[in-house]
């Protein structure tokens, strides 16, 4: 079992999200995250899907996505050199005694404080999965009150070199 990030270009028409979601639920495929947004072309949307499965299942997922009529293109970015990022908002307990330490972590991870109150901080972080996993881990002990994640977005690198 491994996670694959799929970039799926679809016609931007009503029902397309439901077709994709229905494909996953109907066939029992695991979906970790799904992100949809318009592209520069007005009739086209880009979905970034993180799915989990062994090679045969991922192959089926890719083929089944291609089979959907509104699907224009499917790329498995995991097999290509790509960048992937997720943005997360985390609301964390921050009473006076903890605040300095939390701010240090914010600093180390180069994220931003976007909202503050007497005993809470809301932090915005962007990064790849390992960075987000790390900060969530570090903040857990202060007590995370709320978390909102965008799901992965990803893109193939222009030059196929490891940076």
């Amino acid at each position: 079992m491994s996670k694959h990030t799929l970039s799926v270009m679809v016609e931007n028409e009503p029902g397309v999200l439901s077709r994709v979601a229905g494909l996953f639920s109907g066939r029992g495929f695991n979906i970790n995250s799904l992100n949809v947004a318009p592209t520069l072309e007005k009739d086209v949307s880009l979905m970034t899907i993180v799915a989990e499965g062994d090679d045969a299942i991922i192959e089926q997922i890719v083929k089944q996505l291609r089979k959907l009529i509104p699907t224009i293109k499917v790329k498995d970015l995991t097999e290509l050199n790509s960048v992937d990022r997720e943005m997360v908002l985390i609301k964390v307990n921050a009473e006076d005694s903890k605040r300095a330490e939390i701010l240090r972590i914010v600093d180390i991870f180069r994220c931003k404080v976007v909202d503050v109150s007497a005993d809470e901080l809301t932090i915005e972080i962007t990064g790849d999965q390992s960075k987000i996993g790390a900060i969530v881990n570090l903040l857990t002990r202060f007590g995370i009150k709320e978390i909102a994640r965008t799901g992965n977005v990803a893109m193939q690198r222009s030059m196929q070199i490891e940076l």
Binding site: V10, E11, P14, G15, S18, R19, G22, G26, A56, E59, Q60, K63, Q64, R66, K67, I69, P70, T71, I72
Partner: protein
């Protein structure tokens, strides 16, 4: 000229060459029905929407053209869902038009409103809700194109009532171009050459063919390859008729109720050529023991079918016809230099030996009428020149085993979904496509009662479908499983409380016959097939006859229960 949505729909159907549609009116399609008298498209009024969709499906399977049905919103549409799923499972081109409440009411839980596009999303190839009259003609064009091309399938178009009433200029598009849909039609020639190489090396090759050969009309190419290269052929239920059923190289059906020879051949072959088939669980049995010694070539137009259930060595994404034609072209030149028949003789002898050892058979001993005997008689009387529809269950398996299909499109059966009640309305649709052909529904007493209301439709439209009920007073296939695997606990399978089918036929204005003795079977069938109106022949067969061979669910193909 500006036309209403309703008028445009009918015009488009004419442009698509549709001569008949099956339907049932209602408030949300009344505008379309208002225009039908002015159209060249004939409308057959069914008695239940399930009848309409199965009839359109039967019409499509028998004729190879797209079937069409027209239904109202809400319950009209939901009643067709079983039939849509049936067509989807068997890849049958059907276009379904449903009425919808006016756009302003969509989402308001209006009277007879249902989200039929949502409901049918997983059981159609594609579906549309028309939201702008300007899109109507393009959508209809695409609907027919999608239904017929690539891997065929049902396409549903939902038409809000106000769209049917709005006007727009009629200008039907000549062709379709969809950047997101470009099915592969032709094979990669390198892959075909690989197959030729494998064929030359193989000692024990076997064709395993399915419904794809029929839907792409590749039967001639298949027959040529089988016969010229001396390769035995086994077929799925859906593929029967693509290779002549009486040819010595034909092993019959494989799988759960396949022949001994076919299942043994799959087990022993060293090259399995799967064409337009999808390794369904009813075919493969226990998957890890399926074709254990074979290099597997898989030709299919749908990439998702390939590598789905079994891993194959040579995948070929292509419509079956161009792929088999390419294979023919690549092997034609070898016929002179290479004696294929001699090369495969040992294998063919072995396969035919299995067939002699354990042919399809049944014990015809007692007084009673064996259902297999009835099917054999139907084959003898019709000389194989009939269109056979089946219901689902034992009747379906006997119809597949004991009738030898010589031509494609002559067996109409719900293979993938296994829909009881399919056969009769499908026969009705086939009869509409071929008014002069003998169309027989081989039925069980359980299944036939699921769409029996269409008796009125066939009588009033003079569609002389012949229904032969193999009446055993049981839901026989489930009873067979209960007998074999559930300690004969015949819970809810006894159906001996049943109508008098002869009187029922007569009540509808059809003819009815009953047969209770073996000596009357042939005579009565002959007589019934000559009647120029719909007929029900109620044949009281042996009650607890089983379908054999049988591979228990989940067992390997070689673990067959024989007669």
């Amino acid at each position: 000229m500006k036309l209403t949505g309703a008028q445009i729909l009918l015009k488009c159907l004419e442009e698509e060459g549709v001569d008949v549609m099956f339907g049932f009116p209602g408030g949300a399609v009344i505008d379309i029905y208002d225009e039908i008298p002015n159209s060249k498209v004939e409308h057959i009024l069914v008695r239940h929407e399930q009848g309409a969709i199965h009839a359109a499906d039967g019409y499509a399977r028998a004729s190879g053209r797209a079937g069409v049905c027209l239904l109202t919103s809400g319950p009209g549409a939901t009643n067709a869902v079983t039939g849509i799923a049936t067509a989807y499972a068997d890849s049958i081109p059907v276009v379904i038009f449903t009425g919808q409440v006016p756009r302003a009411l969509i989402g308001n839980d209006a009277f007879q409103e249902v989200d039929i596009v949502g409901i049918t999303r997983p059981c159609t190839k594609h579906n549309y809700l028309v939201q702008d009259i300007k899109d109507l003609q393009t959508i209809i064009k695409q609907a027919f194109y999608l239904a017929r091309s690539g891997r065929p399938g049902p396409v549903l178009v939902d038409l809000p009532k106000d769209i049917q009433q709005q006007k727009v200029e009629f200008d039907y598009p000549k062709d379709v171009s969809m950047r997101s849909y470009k099915p592969t039609r032709k094979p990669h020639i390198g892959q075909i050459r690989k197959v030729v190489k494998l064929l030359k090396k193989a000692r024990r090759p076997l064709f395993y063919t399915g419904g794809g050969v029929i839907s792409s009309a590749a039967h001639e190419e298949l027959t040529w390859l089988g016969q010229k290269l001396s390769i035995p052929v086994t077929s799925t239920l859906m593929g029967l008729g693509a290779f002549p059923g009486d040819d010595d190289l034909f092993l019959g059906m494989l799988g759960m109720h396949g022949t001994y020879a076919a299942n043994m051949a799959v087990n022993d072959c060293d090259l399995l050529l799967a064409v337009g088939a999808r390794f369904d669980d009813r075919v493969t049995g226990r998957i890890d023991t399926f074709a254990p010694n074979a290099t597997i070539v898989h030709i299919d137009v749908d990439p998702t079918s390939i590598q789905k259930n079994v891993s194959v060595h040579v995948p070929i994404v292509s419509d079956c016809k161009p792929a088999l034609a390419a294979l023919k072209k690549e092997t034609e030149g070898t016929l002179e230099e290479f004696d294929w028949a001699a090369d495969h003789k040992e294998w063919v002898d072995e396969v035919q030996g299995w067939n002699r050892e354990h042919p399809l058979t049944y014990k015809d001993d007692g007084e009673g009428i064996k259902p297999q005997y009835v099917v054999e008689k139907i084959y003898e009387i019709t000389k194989g020149d009939a269109i056979i529809a089946t219901e689902v269950g034992q009747n379906q398996m006997w119809a597949a085993q004991f009738y030898k299909y010589a031509k494609p499109n002559t067996l109409l059966t719900s293979g993938g979904l296994g829909t009881m009640g399919y056969g009769f309305p499908a026969a009705m649709g086939a009869q509409k496509a071929f008014p002069d052909k003998l169309v027989i529904d081989i039925a069980g007493d359980g299944s036939i009662q699921m769409c029996i209301q269409e008796m009125m439709t066939v009588v009033c439209n003079k569609l002389p479908v012949k229904i032969v009920i193999l009446n055993n007073g049981y839901l026989g296939m489930v009873r067979q499983w209960q007998e074999l695997f559930y300690d004969k606990n015949y819970c809810a399978t006894c159906m001996d409380a049943q109508p008098d089918f002869v009187k029922l036929a007569e009540a509808y204005g059809a003819a009815g016959f009953r047969v209770t003795e073996k000596k009357d079977v042939e005579k009565t069938l002959r007589e019934a097939f000559k009647v120029d109106k719909p007929v029900i022949v109620d044949i009281r067969v042996e009650k607890e006859e089983n379908v054999y061979p049988m591979v228990p669910a989940g067992a390997s193909l070689t673990e067959m229960l024989l007669v």
